[in-house]
């Protein structure tokens, strides 16, 4: 991990208490680093801990163990007040464009909120809001309207404008396009790609949609049950997935080929409960390649043949 990384996660773990003396380990020993200007994708099924990871990265919640370093500074134990000055440089966009905007505030007040918080003068706020609206492709007269007057895609643009207001260095996109129609998704993705180039943003892009992640990300981390099971450059991951879970995910992407009648799901069964994860490799319950060793001995994240890292005893394509 280079010292120049903008965000560095090390051994990050988050437990949620469930009932008496039980806990749900939503994120388990995750280590990642994002370089300035880099886009890192996080993919995985629902419930694999992606969203928790995103909220940890901007310290909306506190980790149970491990460290979060932002521009080299350990922020894992800062309280809300100590975090506030740092919020200028890190922003987050949420999945649901409906509940992430307060219905009682108009667009100008929504976008102005971060600007007020960091001491921008009242007369400078109006022009800055107008500028941001242009940046995200909304008409200038949107400022006076309320969120309910906008479609999902437009609302997500408002969220992006609010997130960009302070010129952050890191933007966490938590399923930022998942709630939108496919055509609108493409617009928002293009917008994010343009902004990234223009502003030199680092993105932590969380999604369950492989096509979306492939389009936008330099590197991809695949999560399963709170753990990273594979981490590789986008091209390498798609060309030669090393983990059986990644391979299954790629196979699950529908092919636009009417002759392909294969209907068997690439991964059988349901996601095991993170309250009571399986011993050994967490994926062995659904893995086509699982052997006795997988059921007892948890694999570690090790260098893989595609140049990335993989958490598997018997990676795809390896000799038995």
């Amino acid at each position: 991990m280079t010292a120049a990384a903008i965000l560095e996660l090390e051994g990050l773990t988050k437990d949620f208490p469930v009932g008496r003396n039980r806990r749900l380990r939503a994120v388990d020993d995750v280590s990642l680093a994002i370089a300035p200007g880099e886009t890192l994708g996080i993919v995985g099924e629902s419930g694999c801990g992606k969203t928790t990871l995103g909220r940890l990265a901007v310290r909306l919640i506190a980790p149970s163990a491990g460290t979060i370093r932002f521009e080299g500074r350990d922020i894992s134990t800062l309280d809300e007040a100590a975090m506030r000055p740092l919020r200028q440089a890190m922003q987050i966009i949420f999945q649901d464009p409906y509940s992430s905007l307060n219905p009682r505030l108009n667009v100008e007040r929504i976008i102005a909120e971060p600007l007020e918080n960091f001491g921008m003068k009242r007369r400078e706020i109006g022009p800055r809001v107008a500028e941001l609206l242009t940046t995200v492709g909304l008409p200038a007269d949107a400022a006076g309207r309320y969120p309910h007057a906008f479609s999902g895609g437009q609302r997500q643009r408002i969220s992006i404008a609010r997130a960009l207001a302070l010129n952050p260095k890191l933007l966490v996109c938590d399923e930022a396009v998942s709630a939108l129609d496919v055509s609108v998704q493409a617009q928002i993705l293009n917008l994010l790609a343009d902004l990234r180039a223009e502003l030199g943003l680092s993105l932590l892009f969380i999604s369950h949609n492989l096509a979306v992640v492939r389009y936008l990300c330099h590197r991809i981390a695949v999560m399963y049950l709170g753990r990273i099971v594979e981490l590789a450059d986008t091209a390498a991951l798609f060309a030669a997935p090393q983990h059986h879970y990644t391979a299954a995910l790629l196979k699950a992407v529908p092919e636009p080929d009417p002759r392909d009648r294969s209907t068997s799901p690439p991964v059988e069964g349901d996601l095991p409960s993170p309250i009571d994860p399986p011993p050994g490799c967490v994926f062995h319950t659904r893995c086509p390649r699982a052997e006795a060793r997988c059921r007892t001995e948890p694999p570690v994240l090790a260098p893989a043949r595609n140049g990335g890292l993989v958490r598997c005893h018997f990676p795809v394509g390896a000799l038995p």
Binding site: L60, F94, S100, R104, F150, A163
Partner: protein, 287 residues
């Protein structure tokens, strides 16, 4: 998409539903009547409410005194009209005090959690452990009778309910994404509470306050009835019921009209509260 001013739309929406709710309309009418009487009582009274006339002691209703006269020959109608003032004054004062304290502490307890929450909510629990009226009577007995006593003692028993309700509402709202978004963009707690949370708990608090007025007026009447409330010569409905109780069998008019005024007021506020709940609570909205 048609452009609509959200504020105006919400208001007209509210008025529309308000007119459709029979409870709300009847309640609001009764409340308006009582408020009107309280404000204009000095102009409405046919006689001086303090005028003693020994020739008319316990006189039955007559053309000159439609509600009759009390033990000192004072005009009951005038006293009932003026009695609305104390009831409403106490209600307004207690509501103002308890909403301010209850909402502030409830919001802090919910938002900050931890020790703040523990201290505030355990205090609330302790006050809740006493029966409401017993505690009010205890405080009133310690402070001595009077208007201020009534307001203070009722405020002490009434704020914990507001605090508890507020805390529950805020705990729900705290998980809204726009609150997370506000934290993420660096808004301090005071701003989050006032700008993002308070406007969204006003509606349920209005319902609670409206129903609460019924309790407060009833409690005020009870304290006055027990003689530890507002004192003579200022007429109160509770005090009038007490005065008339000894001669209830022979001269029931004082008790009857004071109780009627009390009943109309309390029913009015309760109907208004029920109506507001039907209108404002999204869970019962579309019935």
């Amino acid at each position: 998409m048609v452009e609509i001013d959200a504020g105006r739309q919400r208001r007209s929406d509210f008025l529309l539903r308000f007119r459709k709710s029979r409870n709300a309309v009847i309640g609001a009418t009764l409340v308006a009547l009582v408020v009107f009487v309280a404000i204009f009582a000095p102009l409405l009274v046919p006689h001086d409410y303090e005028h003693v006339d020994m020739f008319k002691v316990w006189a039955p209703p007559s053309a000159e005194h439609p509600f009759g006269n009390d033990a000192l020959g004072r005009d009951i109608l005038s006293r009932v009209l003026v009695g609305a003032q104390v009831s409403l004054l106490v209600a307004v004062a207690v509501l103002t005090i308890t909403l301010t304290i209850g909402v502030t502490l409830g919001m802090c307890a919910a938002y900050f959690g931890g020790w703040t929450d523990t201290i505030i909510m355990r205090t609330v629990d302790i006050i809740f452990a006493f029966p409401e009226l017993i505690l009010a009577i205890l405080v009133a007995a310690m402070m001595g009778p009077g208007l201020l006593t009534v307001i203070v003692s009722l405020s002490i028993v009434w704020w914990p309910g507001i605090a508890r309700l507020t805390r529950a509402l805020v705990l729900q709202l705290k998980n809204e994404l726009y609150v997370s978004a506000a934290i993420a963009c660096g808004s301090p707690p005071a701003k989050i509470l006032i700008r993002h949370i308070l406007p969204n708990i006003v509606a349920p608090l209005m319902v609670r306050a409206s129903i609460g007025v019924g309790f407060i007026i009833m409690a005020e009447a009870t304290l006055s009835f027990l003689g530890i409330g507002v004192q003579e010569p200022r007429p109160t409905w509770g005090g009038m019921i007490r005065d008339g109780l000894q001669t209830l069998r022979t001269d029931p008019y004082l008790v009857f009209y004071a109780s009627l005024a009390l009943a109309i007021t309390i029913i009015g506020f309760n109907l208004l509260g029920d109506g507001l709940r039907d209108i404002l609570d999204p869970r019962v909205r579309d019935r």
